[in-house]
Symmetry: C2
Subunit: 131 residues, 2 copies
């Protein structure tokens, strides 16, 4: 079972991280996720970390990298379900989750992604009118 | 990380099974799932098994039990993401997934649950008119 499933839920992709992440698993997740963003033309990615009791700089960097990769492909990433203890650790360790948006749960994360999509479509239509 | 997260997605609950299920984990998942169905008043449960390369009679019974438990609480269960090899094994082993509905992926599973909900609301309104 050394593969993290990527679930298509409506317009978005959902990844639930439940197992300890090691280097090879992170690499295969990055490969799978970027491929799925392209194939499914998803506009947003939700990464659920509610099963994680702790984070370290490795996980923090992984989340930041995946957000940057999906953004390069035109999709936004929202990390959802962070446990209070994890939020405390992130601040105490001074981890910087660059470019990583968060939401309390999947529903709120989807609403956030939908808002971001609506905003960007407004910007797109403005740009269109300016031409 | 010995807990399987249960994600609320709109009206439904989504459980993605990624780790080897042992007795204690199954029991805690059953507790959590039934509690969440009650708390969130979810009308449907999606169990994603796309990360499972194989099933045995234990997993088959677990899926059947969870479907029966959630049905007792008024929610339908759909198992999604079954791999072809798993479907073959189920038939070859003669496993009977009683009361377990299946769909190819989360989107189709949600559509199936939505259909079941609409059907049951039609029945409800018929019953209402008969009174």
């Amino acid at each position: 079972m050394e593969r993290i499933p990527i679930l298509k839920v409506g317009e978005f992709l959902l990844v639930s991280i439940q197992v300890d992440m090691h280097d090879r698993l992170v690499l295969s997740l990055q490969d799978d996720l970027t491929a799925q963003v392209v194939v499914s033309r998803a506009k947003g990615v939700l990464i659920d970390i509610s099963a994680l009791d702790m984070v370290d700089s490795f996980i923090g960097r992984m989340l930041g990298n995946m957000a940057a990769m999906t953004r390069a492909l035109g999709a936004e990433t929202v990390v959802v379900g962070m446990q209070p203890a994890v939020a405390i650790t992130i601040v105490e360790l001074g981890l910087v989750l660059t470019d990583v948006r968060t939401a309390i749960n999947v529903d709120k994360g989807m609403a956030l992604l939908q808002n971001l999509l609506n905003e960007s479509s407004v910007i797109d239509s403005h740009e269109f009118h300016e031409k």
